[in-house]
Symmetry: C2
Subunit: 376 residues, 2 copies
């Protein structure tokens, strides 16, 4: 009889890496299907192979009790086939479909009556032009699949700016057009759900993007308690339940200049907006994800300090982060440094820093300082 | 050029296991020399072999940048030989010698003028009888080497009770006799030191033993701020510096009924009395140990709550802890559960629970409740 459960993670990125400490603490065995030998999660990589190949994924899945994900890119037909063979995926293929296809997600959110930007699925230059004209002469165009960190997103004022994407559309595929929202700030609401239906929320956070990439997260979002957090909590609960999510769900939101809350994007996995929970929440998003996919009771999500600020660290041209770490640690004894063990490429997320405390201004200053010192 | 440093840990127990999350977070590679395939630290075990065998330890040491320890049992001659060959051990053989030999430790502490119970090294029944007679008719006898968790310790009133140990003494070996201290409570002072000499302390804690095994730790020790913590800090700093410790040093202490503080035992590695730091200190003892052995700046040791209580979980006869985990999690959403992934044996430490909060009575009650529910 197996004494312990083994969780399998498809994808060897930093999200898989950060699940390792959570699993180690709980006494849960963890295995990773990584893309390469030198993945961020190499320590737990039991298989190296292509997550698009059904034979590889089948072999990996058979070595574990439950399969979860570092990313949303496993093809839907691979997931469906293996689920029919008895593999337990959490989240399941029906939920992941909404994270994989932004058009399907928008349709489902509309059915759930969740507030979001005006949107349309388009296939022609004329449809794009019409959408732009109806929305004040500008719009956001997104590929339905595969975008992340600003990739697959364009702010446009004319249909010709997405002519190439329209040319590439296959049969039955659409480009997503969205209203260019005038927002005051961006928020993210993290929620976890287990198969039994239990759901828990962390405080809503403010996220600051630079060049389409998350640069900074402030937890909780300043002045969010009450009206704002009530709305973000309701939205996240509605989506988690409506999409039957298992594990962590991140809902990226706009707080508009006219005080509405609109859903921007979804991620059905631990998310950059929740990295602060490792160091400043009773239960981190990674531990909660592990608990949820094993259908264990969810942990408390209280913050262990008044505020926490996370700053992402991006790869620089020289790749010398290791030498910077000692200096940054020396100057910032309160900062929690996280290094993903990834090859350096300019602009790639290679680590993050979190600082927690009760004085928001001081916490922001320390986190930014530690991030700057750490950054190459 | 190697981008990252690799730390090697000799011994695959729960202390090595709990270093894994710390190393993963910091982007440090970690390898373990484990005693068996199914060790607690199996995830990071790159070698399985005998830590007493110089060839095995040499091969392991050559695969890493710096070697540290899960336990103090590597033979001194193995350490000395490999150090001469250029292996970097932290702590070094000169420091470890004091953790391995209680007589050598007592002699060195006497030189450092550190307060401790009256003691003597003895080889004969007559010497034992004299020590017992001079100390009120009772004493504590300890084997100089190899004791832990109450093993190698006897409370005696007559020399015949240690006749077997005296018979087993080799040439130049002694039995340690210590005054039977009348103590109010037991304390532990954790300190970390890096090769450059930087030292940081955590708050002094109260430890509660049952049957010679640590059952519970309360951080900080109630009513310790001021006189008590000043004394324990001074003692730990004197020892860490005097013995040139690298890494974490745990100093186990008696607070006597007449309000003296006396040194009981030393451990030159992360220690059971510091497990609470994983969940309730800005820097855990495991992260600090990793930082110290790599000579990285040490992190802040502030508590993230007013109090933290850790309760050890021992193996029961049925070995069914996994099934108990879900129930314990359900009843105690604030508790942090740690499972070591070890084979179950009655009385063996197989996990621990930590609860943090600002109301000590509530924290103690929750931690004990979670420990009881969790325990088989």
């Amino acid at each position: 009889m197996r004494m312990r459960q083994r969780i399998g993670v498809i994808g060897g990125g930093q999200l898989a890496r950060m699940m390792i400490p959570a699993a180690v603490n709980l006494g849960i065995d963890i295995s990773v299907l990584a893309e390469s030998e030198n993945s961020s999660a190499a320590l737990a990589a039991s298989f190296v192979g292509d997550y698009r190949d059904v034979t590889t994924v089948r072999e990996f899945a058979r070595s574990v009790d439950v399969v979860t994900f570092d990313h949303e890119h496993v093809p839907a037909d691979v997931l469906r086939l293996l689920r029919e063979e008895g593999v337990v995926f959490r989240p399941g293929p029906h939920a992941l479909a909404f994270a994989q296809d932004k058009i399907a997600m928008r349709r489902r959110l509309a059915e759930l009556d969740v507030p979001m930007p005006r949107w349309a699925g388009v296939r022609t230059l004329e449809e794009v032009t019409n959408f732009v004209d109806e929305n004040g002469g500008r719009a956001v165009a997104k590929t339905a699949r595969g975008g992340y960190d600003g990739k697959g997103v364009r702010m446009i004022t004319s249909a010709t700016e997405v002519a190439d994407w329209l040319d590439e559309l296959g049969p039955g595929e659409y480009l997503l057009m969205e209203e260019w929202v005038s927002f005051r700030r961006e928020l993210a609401q993290l929620i976890a759900r287990r198969p039994s239906g239990e759901q828990v929320l962390w405080p809503v956070v403010e996220t600051v993007q630079k060049n389409g990439v998350c640069a900074e997260v402030i937890a909780p979002a300043p002045s969010s308690v009450g009206r704002v957090s009530d709305m973000t909590a309701h939205i996240a609960e509605t989506i988690a339940e409506g999409l039957e999510v298992t594990g962590v769900l991140a809902v990226e939101l706009f707080e508009t200049t006219d005080e509405r809350i609109l859903v921007n994007e979804l991620a059905m996995r631990p998310h950059n907006s929740g990295h602060w929970t490792i160091d400043a929440s009773t239960t981190s998003q990674f531990e909660q994800h592990v608990r949820a996919v094993l259908d264990l009771p969810l942990g408390a999500t209280d913050m262990t300090a008044g505020f926490a600020v996370m700053v992402n660290v991006l790869g620089g041209p020289a790749g010398g982060m290791t030498s910077r770490l000692a200096q940054a640690m020396d100057r910032h004894p309160n900062a929690k440094f996280h290094v993903y063990g990834k090859e350096f490429r300019a602009g790639r997320k290679v680590g993050h820093v979190t600082v927690a405390g009760d004085d928001l201004d001081a916490v922001v200053a320390q986190a930014r300082g530690a991030g700057m010192n750490f950054q190459d």
